[in-house]
Amino acid sequence: MKPETKQTSQDSTSEIAILGFDPGAHLAAILDASDDAIISRDLNGTIVGWDGSAAQMFGYAANEIVGRPIFVLIPQELQGEEDEILRKLRAGDRIDHHETILKKKNGDRFSVSVTISPIRNATGAIVGASEAARDISARAKDDESRFQLAAIVDSADDAIVSKDLNGIVRTWNHGAVRMFGYTTEEMVGQSILRLIPDDLHYEEDEILRKLRAGDRVDHYNTVRMTKNGEPFEVSVTISPIRDASGKVIGASKIARDISDRRRMERLLIQSEKLAATGRMAAAIAHEINNPLESLINLIFLAKKNSPPGGKAHAHLQTAEQEVERIAHIARQTLGYYRDTGLPTEVHLHALIENVLTVYRAKLLASDIAVDTRFNDIQKISVSRGELLQVFSNIITNAIDAMHGGGTLNITTRKIAGPSGDGIQTVIRDSGVGIRREYLEKIFEPFFTTKGNLGTGIGLWIARQLAERRGGQISVASSTENGCSGTSVTIFVPFVAPAPRPSSQNH
């Protein structure tokens, strides 16, 4: 029997081996090889048996501890437990997996799970107890780190979710609550498909297939849906969860909301595209403006040399107008002003008057009255060409909006802007106005409300130039009968932003 064996097995394994194949000794060897400390004591609590594992676990050699009370191993505050244990033992009860704390020789405390069984003599009377103690401090530490892990998981910004192989959600952290809007109660036990837009449900099959094969899905960018049905972009990493035997039983899924990142990426791509467009425009400008100049001159000469009133003269007249259309587009778009304008100190109203002079004939012909109120006393350092381009594009739009005549109101004044003091120019027309659904698009390149007559880049260029100078440009419009019109506000701060090394110019 185990207890008896224990009582005689305080010696080292090698000594036992000499005893030959005595079954008791054999048992003792097994016990000694066990990681559990086997201690036996009598009913007074005196230690009578102490095996090698016990020596290793507690640090006492057998001869140091045998004969001493078991209390040596029990921390002061837990010694009360011993009375209860003795009471149970005397009643012949066994104590299974009692988790407590014991003390080593060096005073260190550690967690143990003890199983205590009564030892009976040949007559069946209880004479003592054997105590198998298992060091569970590692497990306790495990529990602790598990606890910490859980806390980390819960405090993570990412949604961390686990699911079984049928795609049923098993755990749902706070990050998931925040990201998807479902509470833990709403999601645990539900299919993960709830988060996946209908047209992407096939993804889940693919993911599950990979998981079953034990594969991982890394940083997969896709779209998921919030409780409100709003789609958003996420990057998900899904790893299989295995049980102790290594079998895949589910998956952990970490999802990160990347909508903001993607938005930034898209903006970046967009601005890269625009920069490329700008470079292309500059290159084309070179190749187009010179031949255009020659063409205009040639047509002018041909017209001069053809008899007025003749057919050729009329054709040339038309050709001149058509070429002027191209020239207009080239001037407006092909970046002439963008790169040649050196900043100079000017009065904004002088620039505006300059533009108005250019369009005087057109304004008169369209029956448009011009009402200006200039209050910009201070000069401002701007690239003349760029600002001319800005005002010219906006004033052209205003004229185009007032087919049946109207009033063009232009005011300038000094204001305190978001980026310091500057001059605000408001250009208001009483034209047809811009429909609400178009308003947010009007600064996009190639968007036009003028059909074939528009290039769709006037306002886009205007905004590029204004923003490059640190300014802002905004548009308000009404299409309501009787009070329709559009008002464009341009703010240019006195202080220009620090020049950035531009990749666009060369």
């Binding site: 500059a282 020239a327 092909l334 002439y336 790169d339 304008g341 050196l342």
Partner: protein, 150 residues
């Protein structure tokens, strides 16, 4: 005289081989025509604009590069310089600076169809020279207006 060819509009070939610009100036002055030194490496622009300006009452000294242009006005200054900016050998700003130094009363206008010439203009600016710049394409009537200072 060989210089007669200068005044024949449409007859371009002999223009570059003007035998004596002094004669040109003398004749121009006699006829009370303001002289324009017109420079562009785009031959067609020079040729067409020469014809147009001649027709508008100017005497034009055409040149296809800055060096030649300078040679043409070695002894007498033109009333106007109208020059492209980006040209081989000598750019418009260098030419304009040379002319300004030689003939301070010559009115100078640069025209360009190119983006990316701000560096050249800045070079001039650093040396203290700023020139009027007009954008190509530009209608010839506007060029004439500019020359007349309107």
């Amino acid at each position: 005289m060989a210089t007669a060819s200068v005044f024949v509009t449409g007859d371009h070939a002999p223009i570059v081989e003007l035998p004596c610009t002094e004669v040109f100036h003398a004749v121009a002055a006699q006829r009370d025509r303001p002289t324009v030194l017109l420079v562009d490496d785009e031959i067609l622009i020079v040729d067409t604009l020469t014809e147009i300006l001649e027709g508008a009452g100017f005497s034009v000294l055409p040149a296809y590069d800055g060096r030649t242009a300078l040679e043409k006005v070695a002894r007498c200054g033109p009333d106007y310089l109208l020059s492209d900016v980006l040209m081989p050998k000598m750019n418009g700003v260098e030419l304009a600076i040379a002319i300004r130094k030689m003939y301070p009363s010559t009115r100078i206008m640069l025209f360009s169809g190119q983006a990316g010439i701000s560096d050249i203009l800045l070079d001039g600016l650093r040396q203290g020279f700023e020139f009027e710049l007009i954008a190509k394409p530009i209608h010839p009537l506007i060029v004439i207006e500019h020359l007349r200072g309107e």
